[in-house]
């Protein structure tokens, strides 16, 4: 369900960061960092790296808040994109032997639920989920794995033991169906 108050509050806090309002920045961090930390953690799978990414990401958010355009994006998707890009760039620079799943998601303390579950526009979230449910299982699974684990076509091919051509086809057809379903 859409929680307009939460999304409005995050947008406002981000806009106040343009004015270099440190109190707003701290509130923004408290409200969004558990979700953004979790996003990074899933991709890099190492607590130390996820902490570095969170740090770099929030410094980027503070320094570039003036580039956020409230008429084109929601604050939460804008910040999520910054964090995911940093996590993906980080993991792809690392040698393969350094990348090991430490199982941190099994041991770290989860933040509270509640308002944190309503950081994104619920109407958009619901629409995407409905459209994902209309995809073939193989397409949906490949898109979810790519998003949540930051996997490339090659990594998906190895992980799913499926030829890369098939993986590319699943992803592309899945995205084209989403485009139609979401009227993009």
């Amino acid at each position: 369900m859409l929680n307009a108050e939460s999304t409005e509050s995050i947008n406002n806090l981000l806009v106040r960061c343009v004015l270099k309002d440190a109190t707003a920045f701290e509130s923004l961090y408290k409200l969004t960092s558990p979700k953004l930390f979790s996003i990074s953690l899933r991709i890099v799978k190492k607590q130390e790296w996820a902490e570095e990414i969170l740090q770099e990401g929030f410094i980027n958010i503070w320094n570039n808040a003036d580039q956020f355009r409230g008429d084109k994006a929601s604050a939460m998707t804008w910040m999520t994109r910054i964090m995911r890009n940093k996590a993906i760039d980080h993991i792809r620079k690392k040698p393969q032997n350094e990348i090991q799943d430490e199982g941190v998601l099994d041991t770290v303390v989860s933040g509270t639920s509640g308002p944190l579950d309503h950081l994104f526009d619920a109407d958009t979230t619901d629409a995407l989920q409905k459209c994902l449910d209309e995809l073939d299982n193989s397409q949906k699974n490949a898109i979810n794995m790519a998003y949540f684990q930051g996997l490339t076509h090659q990594e998906l091919s190895e992980s799913l033991d499926t030829p890369m051509g098939t993986i590319k086809s699943w992803i592309r057809r899945g995205l084209q169906k989403l485009k139609g379903c979401l009227s993009l």
Partner: protein, 239 residues
């Protein structure tokens, strides 16, 4: 990488947001984004949808030292937060006499500066109030800053607000006691507009009033009250 076919551009933008674009292709795409506004729009469009996938992720509270490090790197740490470990050691006993004398002089200047800053009266900075005006979709559209006592308002658009040539934006104060809105003046649809608040209104009245922007004919409301739709609203908060 050439991206001229609209369908290919769209698909590559989607793959970039999803994260499957890798290696040199990803780096080349990011370079293209710098100079291709239309491509950036495609990325925004896909990100607004695809990135809501993260809504389902269980949040994980990061350790407190991460934010401490962020504040330190951005120099947001208040002086009272500093630890003794961050203070350089003085090393008095090891210094030669002349160096001690220099240090004493420096210390004396600090004491003097401290005395001046603590004991001599200095003017209090005027409080600054800020309002963020949102549209109906809760998107932040205008930032208003004011030093209420100086009676000046600075109104800035978050991004250009498009209107036809026969329309104008007018800013209103909405009194806390729900009486009729008071016009402050017309505001430009982009950049910064500076307006002066009516001198007859008390500071308390202004601080507690709401702010709204309505769409009016060119030249402003002909009646002295909003005649068009109220598109943006917000309230002042102490910065």
């Amino acid at each position: 990488m050439k991206l001229e076919n609209p369908q290919v551009r769209d698909l590559i933008a989607a793959e970039y947001v999803l994260g499957t674009l890798a290696g040199g292709a990803r780096r080349r795409f990011e370079k293209m984004l710098w100079n291709d506004a239309n491509l950036r729009l495609l990325v925004e469009k896909w990100s607004n949808k695809i990135d809501t996938l993260a809504a389902g992720i269980t949040p994980v509270t990061p350790p407190t030292h991460v934010f401490t490090a962020i504040k330190k790197r951005l120099n947001l740490t208040a002086p009272t937060d500093r630890t003794e470990a961050e203070t350089p050691a003085s090393g008095w006993g090891k210094l030669a006499f002349w160096r001690s004398a220099t240090a004493l002089a420096v210390a004396a200047s600090f004491v003097l500066a401290l005395y001046v800053s603590v004991y001599l009266p200095k003017p209090e900075p005027a409080p600054v109030y800020v309002a963020v005006l949102n549209n109906e979709a809760a998107q932040s559209s205008w930032i208003i800053k004011t030093n209420v006592e100086a009676r000046e308002l600075s109104i800035e658009t978050v991004s250009p607000q498009y209107i036809t040539a026969d329309k104008a934006f007018e800013l209103w104060l909405l009194p806390a006691n729900k009486t009729a809105p008071i016009s402050v003046g017309l505001v430009q649809n982009q950049g910064v507009t500076t307006l002066t608040l009516p001198s007859e209104l008390s500071v308390e009245f202004i601080k507690t009033a709401g702010l709204a922007i309505s769409l009016e004919p060119t030249g402003g409301s002909p009646t002295g009250l909003p005649t068009g739709p109220v598109l943006y609203q917000g309230k002042l908060q102490l910065l």
